[in-house]
Symmetry: C2
Subunit: 385 residues, 2 copies
């Protein structure tokens, strides 16, 4: 079980990742089957008696099940550490938090780097093609396993937000409320274009070996360049200006092809670092899954259907990867079906990264939204740290 | 001499590229020397007696001297065909147009793919580092050679616009008017970041061979990915939506890593095509030159200096690579020095590409601006086709 030792900074404390393997096979959207399927997941807080306080948070492209706390003996906190914990936006004193790594990933859930039981070696490109709907279907098995009939909330940013929307499309009766952040109903051609260049960069590297690199090591150069492209899209013009401006790494130009500017050094570092922590084939599969994602045109909530899921939709003004107009499209799709939806566009310079960084305003919005959803009324005054 | 055979579409007709090699060496900003230096250039129209009708147009990153007309027996028109010709924005019935390929390039001017006379083989990375100021210094030799003391105008978009600004910074007394389009006083960290990823993509390809690939062929994969990145930045979110939306190349998803969407096929095509026409090392040198470019902070026109160059500055609302606020910075720098400057932000969905595409409004603006500069008053009524 997850320990909820309260630390000075209101962390959930030491946590561990659990594995859940479900029987049978997953029928994928592509028509193929995948099995056995293992999901890596973590939980924080305690499930209440009537199992009405469970919240599922869903991670972005390169995320994992480790959303909050620290592993024993380590110091790295979870990716949504600022928002999950005692007294935080997702208050673990009140809610039972669940986060699971997506299928197709490389952080414990079944993906292309997992051993294919039929072959006794990693799937590589024999891994079947997956979609966001398939990710959600796997999570549904986990939620069943945990004995939760209805989730108080599903929440997530970026690709996590797509999974939120997919949960509502697939299982609206099991989702009391939803918080899609910095996301979209469908990938635009520009978003597809960036993902395609990311994929081409990986596949251009001879070390990729048509996906069969596991005994040789990652296609480091191609994967590193791919991640550098991604990183540019996560930040805004302005946040790069604030963080780097045109500052040089040394006191003079190199007049050559070294990294002259700090921003170049930063991108090289982020690229090299990514190679150590993320599987190249997973990057291919997951980018393609989100390119296929499309709940536009009435696919989120079919015409004539009514749902009682409440929505809080958040976007960020400086996010040009998933710009506010895409969140507004979600709001329009919901309003057309008379769904209770609140929309907030936050002013920030952080770009797409804001969903991980812009803590204060998100905390206020999410806290009050969850209060209202959980209690039916607004609880105030007991959130001091 | 350039033939100016008038064709149905008001083309300058059949043209040829000329070469000019100047004696001595170019003293580069880096402290190194380059020589001999050859410039490829074209001219259209006729120089008048007092040599007061010469206009220099300057090309963007991957451009060349072929700005207008067609080569004998070929059909490809120049890169600014829509703006240069009889009766067009740059009216070859009135003006003598000059366009030269930049040094560092690969379209006839001396660059890394040129033979290093000291070694009898291509320079490759022995080519000295060049800056935008060096490009302009080489052009100054050409303008001297053509016997032109003062240019009626220098004009160009993107990197061409940087050269326009550099001409004014280096030789304000030789520039009667200037038209910098969709450009900037300095590369921002985001712009540097995109160029750095482009360079890393090329250099990640083992076929790049530290620049010594000339006997083996281009680093095709890396260069292709590099250009795909560039192409995304040239278009806008909206122009991609209009051109491609989420249309598929076939009637079904591939559930694999083929190009499913038209936008993917388009980018792959543009990448592959670029490999055939542009030298990878030139891409490295020129992107670095524009990253170094910085005429901010009073470097365009030093404090206390007065110049009488007139300016027309054009930007495009949907251009997110060189966004309008960067053009506004140019205007501010000029107004602070009491320079005559007109600024126009054109509404278009084409993104950065608009400087090549958005013909009608640019034609009106440039035509009238040149009239006023050339004649001192506005000539109207004789521009019908």
């Amino acid at each position: 079980m997850t320990k909820t030792k309260k630390e000075k900074n209101n962390s959930v404390g030491v946590v561990e990742t659990k594995l859940f393997t479900f029987a049978g096979q997953l029928n994928l959207v592509s028509g193929e089957k995948l099995g056995p399927v293992t999901l890596a997941y973590e939980t924080y807080g305690s499930l209440n008696k009537d199992k009405s306080n469970a919240i599922l948070v869903l991670h972005a492209l390169s995320g994992d099940a480790h959303a909050a706390g620290i592993y024993n003996g380590q110091t790295d906190t979870g990716w949504w550490e600022d928002l999950i914990g005692p007294g935080k936006a997702f208050d673990t004193n009140r809610y039972f938090m669940i986060c699971s790594n997506v299928i197709g990933g490389c952080k414990g859930s079944t993906g292309p780097s997992s051993v294919n039981p039929a072959m006794g070696k990693p799937y590589a490109l024999d891994f079947p093609f997956i979609t966001v709907a398939d990710m959600v279907e796997a999570q549904r098995h986990l939620i069943d396993h945990l004995g939760i009939e209805k989730l108080l909330c599903v929440a997530g940013g970026s690709m996590g937000g797509m999974q939120v929307l997919q949960w509502v499309a697939s299982y609206p009766e099991r989702v009391k409320s939803a918080i899609p952040i910095a996301t979209t109903l469908k990938h635009s051609p520009q978003q597809i274009a960036f993902n395609e260049v990311i994929r081409q960069s990986i596949m251009a590297d001879p070390a990729w070996r048509e996906g069969n690199y596991y005994e040789y090591g990652q296609p480091e150069k191609g994967l590193s360049v791919a991640r550098m492209i991604g990183h540019i899209t996560f930040m805004s013009d302005q946040s790069m200006e604030e963080k780097f401006s045109r500052r040089l790494k040394s006191d003079h130009f190199s007049f050559g092809f070294d990294a002259d500017f700090e921003v170049e050094g930063y991108l090289r570092y982020r690229g090299a670092n990514f190679v150590k922590r993320f599987d190249a084939n997973s990057y291919l599969y997951i980018t393609k899954a989100i390119d296929y994602f499309d709940l536009s045109g009435g696919k989120l909530i079919p015409h004539g259907k009514t749902i009682d899921t409440r929505f809080l939709i958040i976007s960020f003004k400086s996010d040009w990867l998933y710009p506010p107009h895409q969140s507004q499209d979600i709001v329009r799709a919901l309003k057309r079906r008379h769904v209770d939806a609140t929309y907030c566009e936050l002013t920030t310079t952080y770009g797409h990264d804001a969903f991980l960084i812009e803590v204060e305003e998100q905390t206020t919005l999410i806290k009050h939204f969850l209060d209202k959803t959980f209690n039916g009324y607004l609880v105030t005054g007991h959130y001091g740290n």
